[in-house]
């Protein structure tokens, strides 16, 4: 089986029709489902948070069989993800897509777990520390996309689980938990 940057690809990744948007309804439904799963899996393992529709995305091209997804096909699969709530357009022009291989709610739960694991129930921590600090290493939070992190924080803020405060610069932005 093929690997793409360490990610194990399923056999059907080499099936040429997989890269052509199928017109027959039932076939297309299955095709879309497989692509959604594949995209989410790949992004999760590779920690990819954003897909640019017009940019090179390794999953959308299979050099072994010389097939590539058309723009239409990419848009179709991403739209399917968006309908399911697993992705969002970041811009009006629909060029960049935010991939939520964890939903925002899931990220919120992960943050809370992080706080508990590190005894930060009442503590303060900077955003940067969450993203790249020593405590976050090895966790899913490490390298998290800023947009997603902010959304998760906002969600928790609304629930009263924490407060976000701005410092003198972006580097000083921090979070005070109150779990």
């Amino acid at each position: 089986m093929q690997k793409l940057k360490g990610f194990k690809l399923p056999h059907f990744f080499n099936y040429p029709p997989y890269f052509t948007l199928q017109p027959v309804r039932d076939t297309r439904e299955k095709q879309i489902q497989l692509w959604k799963e594949l995209i989410l899996d790949y992004c999760k393992t590779q920690k990819i948070f954003v897909i640019g529709l017009e940019e090179e995305f390794p999953l959308f091209t299979n050099h072994a069989i010389e097939r590539s997804l058309t723009h239409e096909a990419r848009a179709a699969f991403l739209s399917a993800l968006i309908s399911e709530g697993r992705a969002e357009w970041m811009d009006k022009g629909h060029r960049k897509c935010l991939i939520l291989w964890h939903r925002i709610q899931d990220w919120a739960d992960i943050l809370i777990q992080f706080a508990k694991d590190n005894g930060l129930e009442d503590g303060v921590v900077t955003i940067e520390e969450i993203r790249s600090g020593t405590e976050s290493q090895g966790t899913e939070l490490h390298g998290i996309d800023r947009t997603i992190l902010n959304r998760a924080l906002k969600l928790l803020e609304q629930k009263g689980k924490l407060v976000v405060f701005k410092g003198t610069s972006t580097d000083d932005e921090g979070v005070k938990f109150s779990l």
């Binding site: 089986m1 040429p16 052509t20 199928q22 076939t27 299955k30």
Partner: protein, 451 residues
């Protein structure tokens, strides 16, 4: 019973009048009585309810084909024998009565119709059918006048049809004037004069032609009105729930339909026109014709190809695409081994009944499971070779198989290819799973070398 003064009309085997050379039919009126109203005792017969045909030379009366009695004979009145056409008097009575056309016919002393006879009688044509009497009258006048001037031109009463002045002047005559009174063409002046005459006659005929064009245009408008009337009559006839007991009406309606068909106007009443004799005959003929090309083409052939082949074979009396469609759709009604079929893409084909879908599908499945096809898929050309049909037909079959879920398409710079549909075989919950037996396993094995 007084002797019939009118000569009869020679008819062909199917009841059409035999026309004189250069004689052209100009107008038809049905349901016409021809009689002499003023003097019922003359030799002029009372002809009831027939078809009045105005030609360039004569006025013909033919008995209605469905009229009873073989004794009803036809009659012809040379336009030359008509000395006067009366203009229609518009009176209160004429509004309610059937329109009448009255004209004076000259008779020889023996009582036969003749061009310059001493006696004369006034004949009346009573138009009881639905015909445009005014238009007829106008055309009658035109033809009558044209005939009169033609007669004058030909000069002698021997009825020679050529009226152009030729250079075949009698060699025996001398002087500028030849024996028949026309100017002889001699020498340079003769040539010049000949040129001049040619110019003048061309000019005249151009003028006439334009006159004709004007006449044609006005007729065209009338034809459209006529066609509309006929169409409405047919429509109203089919809407009302009349039983077939009204045979005469049904007969004339069929006649009208046949007329419309022959002029090329499509009958508006589709349910009835499906039974039209013309289409039935055509349908059978087509079914016979189609057998050979179908075999050659492997059991399925594009409708457009049949249209070309059939018309080419016919040579004349070509059929329109609409006729072809009608003929094909009639096949369901009789036992013919061919069917018209329309694919989702809109392509229409003729198929032998034995060239069934299941058979084709099975063949395609077999083709697509071969190792080569598992690796590289199948193109329309490949399928055409296996199925023994034209590539366009093969593509239609492949598309049809795709829509049934048997195949998947692969579009790439290499072209448009089809593979066996693997998607149903892939496990929803575990995308890495490949069952031991089955299509997916075969496919993986065939592509083993790739990975």
């Amino acid at each position: 019973m007084a002797e019939n003064c009118l000569p009869s009309v020679t008819l062909t085997g199917s009841g059409r009048p035999v026309l004189e050379p250069n004689e052209i039919e100009c107008f038809f009126l049905s349901g016409v009585d021809l009689l002499c109203e003023d003097d019922p005792h003359t030799c002029f017969p009372h002809l009831k309810s027939g078809l009045l045909i105005l030609t360039t030379h004569r006025l013909l009366w033919l008995p209605d084909s469905s009229a009873a009695g073989p004794a009803s004979s036809s009659a012809a009145i040379p336009l030359a024998a008509i000395s006067h056409i009366f203009s229609q008097k518009k009176s209160l009575r004429s509004v309610f009565a059937s329109p009448r056309v009255r004209f004076q016919v000259s008779l020889s002393p023996e009582g036969r119709v003749a061009a310059s006879g001493s006696r004369s009688v006034v004949a009346t044509a009573v138009v009881r059918g639905k015909g445009d009497c005014d238009a007829f009258l106008t055309k009658f006048w035109e033809n009558w006048r044209a005939r009169a001037s033609e007669e004058a031109e030909s000069g002698s009463s021997s009825g020679s049809s050529a009226s152009a002045v030729t250079a075949t002047a009698a060699a025996s005559s001398s002087g500028i004037y030849s024996s028949d009174g026309t100017v002889r063409m001699v020498g340079v002046s003769g040539i010049l004069r000949k040129e001049q005459e040619m110019w003048e006659s061309t000019d005249r005929s151009l003028q006439d032609a334009f006159q004709d064009l004007n006449a044609l245009m006005s007729k065209a408008k009338e034809m459209v009105v006529l066609a509309e009337k006929m169409r409405l009559k047919l429509l109203s006839g089919s809407n009302s729930q009349t039983n077939a007991t009204n045979d005469e009406e049904m007969g004339s309606k069929e006649e009208m339909q046949d007329w419309l068909l022959s002029v090329g106007i499509i009958s508006p009443v589709t349910k009835e026109s499906a039974g039209a004799l013309y289409h039935q005959q055509l349908s059978r003929q087509l079914a016979d014709f189609v057998k050979v090309p179908l075999e050659r083409a492997g059991g399925i052939i594009n409708l457009i190809d049949i249209y070309c082949l059939f018309n080419r074979a016919r040579g004349t009396e070509l059929i329109s695409p609409d006729d072809l469609l009608q003929a094909c759709s009639l096949w369901e009604k009789f036992e013919v081994p061919v069917v018209l079929r329309k694919f989702d893409s809109g392509v229409m084909v003729i198929q032998t009944k034995s060239h069934s879908d299941e058979e084709v599908l099975a063949k395609i499945k077999m083709l697509v499971m071969k190792p080569d096809a598992l690796r590289a898929g199948v193109s329309a050309g490949d399928a055409a070779r296996t199925l023994g049909v034209a590539p366009t037909m093969a593509k239609e079959h492949l598309l049809s198989a795709e829509s049934k879920g048997l195949l998947c398409r692969d579009i790439s710079p290499d072209g448009f290819r089809f593979y066996i549909n693997l998607f149903p075989e892939i496990d929803r919950d575990d995308m890495y799973l490949v069952k031991d037996q089955g299509i997916y396993a075969s496919w993986v094995q065939a592509n083993h070398s790739r990975a």
